[in-house]
């Protein structure tokens, strides 16, 4: 089975893409989770679906392709990230309201575009739940570029993002450009979602950004440790999920998410064992 992934180009593309999103989605997810913005990833992924449906509609209606569904999804996702910020500023006292507005708007637009096209075939299904055979060489190139951008930006802004995530007021008083950093952060989320949809699917992409992080923060003492663990869990979920999806002929989005949930459950058990061990050591120290 592993040989297949190395032998066939389309499977190689899928494997490389999987390895890249297994790295960048949990990496960015660490900041998303600690900033309590997990639902923003969900809202953006639903808008990405609208963009993809729009792209598919154009493909179906027009003889010559104007914009591929992938780029349309990317464009919608970036625009929605800007719109969420606008709405959060407009509703300062109810900032979370931006999320259902954008999420339902995305689903609404998707329904309209799908209806206008009189439904879609397997293409839409693969965008919804991911596919092991959907990644073209062109997709892979774009995903490599997105991954480089994400890694570079997080590399440069790591310290600032950490301060902003931990204590927003301290960040503002320290003279950090909080608004600009947050804006860049939102754009990164939009890019990572667009990069992940081919494999995980729009409906499950936020899971890859949050579940490995949820498992990591149960076990980590510090933020860097949490990032490393989240990436290890993300990569494990993607690799096991991709191979099992291919073997059982199931969309990989489902298997990747199930594997990541299994890792999360395992993290609960490991955490309990670690705590019990710590208590035992403390008790023994007390006795002696």
């Amino acid at each position: 089975m592993i040989a297949d992934f190395l032998q066939f180009e389309f499977l190689r593309n899928t494997l490389y893409t999987g390895l890249l999103i297994g790295l960048i989605a949990p990496l960015l997810g660490c900041f998303i989770v600690v900033r309590r913005l997990s639902l923003i990833a969900d809202a953006l992924s639903h808008v990405t679906l609208a963009g993809i449906a729009f792209g598919l509609l154009l493909e179906k209606k027009l003889a010559t392709p104007v914009i591929s569904p992938f780029y349309a999804g990317l464009g919608f996702s970036v625009l929605a990230s800007l719109l969420i910020e606008k709405l959060r500023n407009m509703f300062r006292n109810f900032q979370e309201i931006a999320i259902p507005i954008i999420l339902s708007g995305g689903v609404g637009l998707s329904v309209i575009f799908i209806s206008l096209a009189n439904g879609f075939t397997t293409d839409l299904f693969s965008y919804l739940f991911g596919s092991v055979s959907a990644v073209s060489s062109e997709d892979l190139r774009v995903i490599v570029i997105i991954s480089i951008i994400v890694l570079l930006v997080i590399g440069f802004l790591y310290k600032q993002l950490l301060v902003l995530s931990f204590d927003e007021e301290h960040a503002r008083v320290s003279g950090l450009h909080s608004k600009a950093i947050h804006f860049i952060f939102m754009l990164l989320i939009a890019l990572v979602i667009a990069a992940s949809i081919r494999i995980v699917g729009v409906l499950l992409v936020s899971a890859l950004m949050t579940i490995p992080v949820a498992a990591a923060i149960r076990l980590a003492k510090g933020f860097k440790q949490a990032m490393i663990l989240a990436i290890v869990f993300g990569e494990t979920s993607v690799i096991v999920g991709l191979f099992s999806g291919y073997y059982f002929e199931i969309p990989p989005g489902g298997t990747i998410v199930v594997v990541s949930i299994l890792i999360l459950l395992l993290s609960f058990i490991v955490q309990k064992l670690l705590l019990a061990n710590k208590r035992k050591t403390a008790f023994e120290k007390g006795v002696s």
Binding site: R36, F166, H170, K221, G222, F223
Partner: protein, 242 residues
């Protein structure tokens, strides 16, 4: 003595509601100023104005001789906010990581965290007697220990002025005393200028070099030993400590 913070006849209102009226205040180098007053008396508002987070309706505020709007040397000023110990308790951050955050503005965007910075973090943690907890998760510490970590974060950039907004809230009595002693040591030995908002009149009066009572206007400014208020304000003050 050099003036660190100079506030001249400022007024401030939230929409139509006046929060500060004709407030003037000077903080000199080496002062340990205790800012007390009733809830809604404008203490936090005054600090936010001093830090440039709000703009006064009129009057002027100068930090280290510069107007706040043009002030650039923010590494000279540290702030420990009321919300500092209300951080997300599930946040996976070690004491080292939290204290290192205090260096972020100084390091900037393109410089890396170096061995020199690592040493500065360890020194700041040692100053607040928390070296044994350097690699512990901040959430696993007590309220008093967490507040010491936030002081270390404020100290790490070697500021000249630290502003603290009710830092003793939620800390037990024994730890509050230790906390005041730590501030006094930093003030006397390191020459740090401190401005501390508090409701703890009895505590701050023992350690501060200067006391200001603010209830929209400054009702008292002077030494803690000579602190006195008109009868009407004393009623308000007794209400705080009832």
């Amino acid at each position: 003595m050099t003036s660190i913070l100079q506030i001249d006849t400022i007024n401030f209102s939230y929409e139509q509601k006046a929060a500060l009226r004709e407030v003037s205040l000077q903080v000199k180098k080496g002062d340990f100023l205790g800012l007390i007053g009733p809830n809604g008396g404008g203490k936090t508002t005054l600090i936010k104005l001093a830090l440039g987070m709000l703009q006064p309706n009129n009057g002027s505020i100068r930090l280290f001789g510069h107007t706040v709007s043009s002030f650039k040397d923010w590494d000279k000023v540290s702030f420990v906010s009321q919300k500092a110990n209300a951080f997300n308790k599930g946040f996976p951050a070690t004491v080292f990581e939290v204290v290192a955050m205090g260096l972020t503005p100084k390091i900037g965007y393109f410089r890396r965290f170096s061995a020199k910075h690592r040493t500065a973090v360890k020194q700041a943690v040692a100053q607040v007697d928390m070296s044994d907890y350097l690699h512990e998760n901040i959430s696993s510490l007590s309220g008093g220990q967490q507040q010491r970590v936030f002081i270390a974060r404020a100290l790490v950039s070697q500021p000249e002025l630290i502003i603290l907004d009710e830092p003793t809230v939620g800390i037990d009595h024994a730890n509050v005393k230790g906390f005041y002693e730590l501030l006094q040591r930093l003030n006397e030995e390191k020459g740090l200028t401190l401005v501390m908002i508090t409701h703890d009149l009895a505590g701050i009066a023992q350690y501060a070099s200067k006391l200001v009572y603010l209830d929209q206007q400054i009702k008292y400014e002077g030494s803690p030993e000579q602190f006195s208020l008109p009868e009407t304000d004393l009623h308000v003050l007794r209400g705080i400590h009832a």
